[in-house]
């Protein structure tokens, strides 16, 4: 082993090294940046299964399905809490629009519509002592002509609001607060008032 005390020249060489090798350093930083951006953007597309993929097996298409209370044995998604009861509808509006009717009777209740990639397209929350009924028509965002809207036909509907979803498929989730065993039956009755079905042309 050859060793000697570092000299002043060594220190200067160390300090001036980045100046001498600036092209390599710049190239490395550029490559790191490109790889960083590419990886970050790719993660969303290369995940083995999205949250909706994991729920697919339990959810029929265009039907509202009430899920049993979440326990460690039937927890479908990570961080899916047992504080909430869920009703879900996996919709596919590519063939025909889907009518979604959500009933939110109080605080803690919410409706969320997610696209296939998990992005939230629509959210609404229930209010204390103010039951809300939301009627939404889910139609795909497409240039294909899918018939005139009720408004275009001169039919003004105060009940049905047309919600255009960016993807042809996704999931609608009704969340209801689980207030414990004493209230569960009432909560289940309320959550089953939400529906989801294809609209026949």
């Amino acid at each position: 082993m050859i060793s000697r005390r570092p000299t002043r020249q060594d220190g200067i060489a160390l300090l001036t090294w980045p100046l001498k090798k600036w092209r390599i350093i710049a190239a490395a930083l550029t490559c790191i940046g490109i790889l960083h951006i590419g990886t970050t953007l790719a993660v969303s597309n290369i995940v083995r299964s999205t949250a909706i993929d994991r729920l697919k097996t339990d959810l029929p298409v265009n039907q509202m399905r009430y899920l049993p209370a979440i326990t460690p044995d039937n927890q479908k998604l990570p961080f899916m809490g047992s504080d909430t009861l869920y009703a879900m509808c996996r919709f596919d509006s590519s063939a025909t629009p889907v009518q979604l009717s959500a009933y939110l009777p109080g605080s803690g209740w919410s409706l969320a519509i997610h696209a296939h990639n998990g992005v939230s397209l629509y959210t609404a929350a229930g209010q204390e002592d103010l039951p809300i009924r939301l009627n939404l028509k889910l139609v795909p965002s497409t240039t294909r002509f899918s018939g005139l809207t009720p408004e275009a036909l001169g039919v003004i509907s105060r009940q049905v609001k047309q919600q255009i979803v960016e993807s042809r498929n996704g999931i609608a989730i009704i969340r209801a607060p689980d207030r414990g065993h004493a209230y569960r039956q009432k909560t289940e009755i309320d959550i089953e008032k939400s529906t989801c079905y294809p609209i026949e042309r």
Binding site: G33, V43, G81, D83, S120, T123, P177
Partner: protein
Amino acid sequence: MTTLARQEPNGARRLDESNDAIMKQSFMKSGLMSLRLPQKNLLLHKIKRRVYSTFNTASDILIFVGIVLIGGLGSSWYMVSAGSNLSTHALGPWVAWTSEGRADADPYTRAHFAREGRLNLSSEIAATYTATTDQDGIRLHSSCEYRIAGQDLDANWWSVSVFDHGGRLIPNSADRYAYTRDTIALRPAGDFVITLARDARPGNWLPTGGAGRLAVVLHLLEPSNAFDPSTTANTAALLPAVEKVSCR
């Protein structure tokens, strides 16, 4: 240091200390000591130099590629899994992704939730805070007992749930995994205390079993403006404190 005399093609003899030292070091590094050849053989000497040069270039390229891979993938992994000030805001031990579930979410937030496979409510109407450390920044672990203490939260509805670090509910005989605004027992002053512990505790107790590392999730549905970090300076005081009581 040994110095070797080398016969030059023109017959002149000179000492070449530096070249020889570099050669020696490169052989020691590359483990090619066994290839040491007679020093006076010029052809073999040239081959050695060629091999050394190629080896040096290849190692430089490998180091460059390694640094780029570690830097690029590592920084991306960190930003996607832990977030930064660009995508999250931290209040004490609580961390929330600011544009969670939103259509205009930044790429880090999109990647984070796609990778985790979560379907949380959009941050437009809800806030989801996750604590994986206590107030002192030490990781939450099931071998310790913790006290989560705070005021009744100013939101349409809220809940506190405990998971293992992978987001799985922790099995327990009490079937108790969360407390909500409806199920928690508030104290007369309107505040609450939740105890995270392996064994039963009086009051609001969330069992942690033998889960290992823990994650506590606080959901706020339609939180009041007080929780907006852009309008309120001291938002951290509104969230419950996570304090370690004892460890086994």
